[in-house]
């Protein structure tokens, strides 16, 4: 498969960037000043990962596209992030539900990717795994506190998880890109991440006194550019200056 490595690095970068963009929407509006600091830290980690993955994707592609070029000059169909990360923040419970599910998956993925035969991917993943381990733990703490907090917070946490259950399946899907790279020892086989993910989610839900995970039919498509309605709006905001002034350097 041609350019599988480019596609793979690109989707990892897109995941991180879109979620980092979502988290930066919280800045100044969190439930407590301390939480503002926490969310910004997670956002900064994710945008930093995006710079590395997209920068690498551009190098692999060899057409002179930089991380910024990839971030600010691609339209919706060319984005390959998973659908979960582009979901609107909703309330704090929904944001934490998304963070917990995504970071738990991302941690398992980067753990494996740190042993990739591709030295650059391995290097980026080894750095990022420490970051996302922290994200997964922090988000897990909040799922527990909100799940086992008040009536209201429990209801909101259940709603938040319910919003995102349909996007879990996509995280574990393997397409031709993944299969090609798994065979080469470059990518991680997502199927192998599933038991660890399920166990961790089940443990946190149990501690939070929340109902067990019941996944509905999966909604997929992000990896081939078929997104939810939300991504176009994210890009409209994120890309508007570089697109309005295509010759400018910032």
């Amino acid at each position: 498969m041609e350019n599988a490595l480019f596609s793979y690095a690109l989707r990892l970068g897109d995941d991180s960037l879109v979620l980092g963009q979502r988290l930066s929407e919280w800045c100044g509006h969190a439930p407590a000043v301390e939480v503002d600091l926490s969310l910004a830290n997670i956002g900064l980690d994710l945008i930093g990962q995006a710079q590395l993955f997209l920068g690498y994707a551009g190098e692999v592609e060899g057409k002179g596209r930089s991380d910024d070029r990839l971030a600010f000059h691609r339209d919706v169909m060319a984005w390959t992030n998973c659908l979960m990360v582009e979901q609107p923040n909703g309330d704090f419970a929904r944001t934490m539900a998304r963070q917990f599910l995504f970071s738990t998956w991302q941690k398992a993925l980067f753990d494996g990717l740190a042993a990739s035969k591709d030295a650059r991917l391995a290097e980026i993943a080894a750095k990022a795994v420490k970051e996302v381990t922290y994200h997964a733990e922090l988000a897990g703490d909040w799922v527990i506190r909100l799940g086992d907090g008040t009536e209201e917070s429990r209801r909101r946490m259940i709603d938040g998880l319910d919003w995102h259950w349909r996007f879990v399946e996509e995280l574990f899907q393997a397409d031709a890109v993944v299969e090609t790279l798994v065979a080469e020892g470059v990518a991680v086989d997502p199927a192998g991440l599933r038991p660890g993910f399920d166990a961790r989610v089940a443990a946190v839900l149990a501690e939070a006194g929340l109902p067990e995970m019941q996944l509905p039919r999966g909604v997929v498509g992000g990896r081939k550019g078929h997104h939810s309605e939300h991504l176009g709006h994210i890009l409209a905001v994120m890309q508007h200056i570089p697109r309005t002034y295509p010759d400018a350097v910032w």
Partner: protein, 328 residues
């Protein structure tokens, strides 16, 4: 960010007779540049003035996140996005350090936040102006943080220990804030004509509000003398304003831009720039809450706090239950 006295003293407190020997000892310690620490005896007026000043400073940091936060999702490169997010995050941190310092004086953060949300407490006037283009983000870092740093550096030696320590931390962290703003404007002023126009427009709009940040002129700043004696203010408003203008004008020129003040001119004799009259009616209107975006700022802060109530409550409830279980 700013420590200008914006609120005139609230309703006169009931006069408490404080023992003269304690007052004398306190004044002597402060005059000798000794630090006052939280549990030390201090005059009630000193405590109240500090709570007002520090909380106003904290509120300015928190409200100050909004005009810049407005641009994080739109920053034109990934590098600028991370810089801006880290910078606005720092403002949250600085607000927190300052609330912490005020809390050592017996004010709860909740009370301080209530005072902000009810309009009783003030915050820096500068944040009641809108950020319209990306150049505004550069201008805020350079001019607004620059003015703030001018104000804050002397406060690292303020008489109240926790405030001084918070200022040391804030100043250390803020040194990158001004530079990143100027750096963004240098790049733009070497860029396209549209970018250059944006930079000049931003300077035109932010210049006057920035130099007003130092507060009313000295002859209209009645509490200044006492604050300087108490070392909770170390230089007067006009002294700081002059210092800022002297340092900043050459930086404007270096960008190839103009200062929007026709009366600005170097005064060889004084060794300072002379500058035009400030529009104090505008300043006091903004202090009263009539700034162009005052309603947006307050609405956003109240909404964040109110929307977060269920989160704070839930975490408390969880902890109470955990403790109960642990005790059983």
């Amino acid at each position: 960010m700013y420590t200008t006295e914006l609120q005139k003293s609230d309703s006169k407190p009931v006069a408490i007779k404080e023992p003269q020997e304690l007052i004398d000892a306190f004044e002597a310690r402060v005059a000798a540049d000794a630090f006052i620490e939280p549990k030390d005896w201090m005059p009630d007026a000193y405590r109240r003035t500090l709570i007002r000043q520090i909380s106003q400073h904290a509120h300015s940091e928190i409200v100050g996140m909004l005009p810049e936060g407005n641009w994080i999702t739109r920053a034109p490169s990934l590098k600028r996005k991370t810089i801006l997010l880290a910078k606005v995050q720092d403002e949250a941190g600085h607000g927190l350090y300052l609330y912490s310092a005020a809390e050592t004086l017996g004010a709860s953060r909740e009370e301080m936040i209530d005072a902000l949300h009810s309009g009783k407490a003030k915050y820096s006037t500068i944040f009641n102006y809108p950020t319209l283009t990306w150049a505004d983000i550069g201008a805020i870092g350079w001019l607004v943080d620059g003015a703030a740093i001018m104000n804050q550096v002397p406060l690292q030696r303020t008489s109240y220990g926790p405030y001084a320590r918070a200022m040391v931390r804030v100043c250390k962290e803020e040194s990158f804030h001004q530079r990143q703003g100027y750096d963004a404007l240098i790049v733009m002023s070497n860029g396209t004509d549209e970018q250059k126009a944006m930079v000049q427009d931003a300077i035109d709009r932010w210049w006057w509000p920035a130099i007003m940040m130092f507060g009313p002129p000295d002859d209209n700043s009645p509490n200044s003398a006492q604050s300087i004696r108490w070392r909770i203010k170390r230089e007067t408003n006009d002294e700081l304003r002059q210092k800022f203008i002297d340092a900043t004008v050459p930086q404007v020129h270096l960008l190839g831009m103009k200062v929007p003040d026709p009366d600005l001119k170097w005064n060889e004799e004084r060794g300072h720039y002379d500058y035009g009259a400030l529009d104090w009616d505008e300043f006091y209107a903004v202090v009263r809450g009539e700034g162009p975006t005052a309603k947006e700022r307050m609405e956003a802060r109240r909404k964040a706090w109110d929307d977060g109530a269920w989160v704070r409550e839930a975490a408390d409830a969880h902890e109470a239950r955990r403790r109960l279980k642990a005790a059983a």
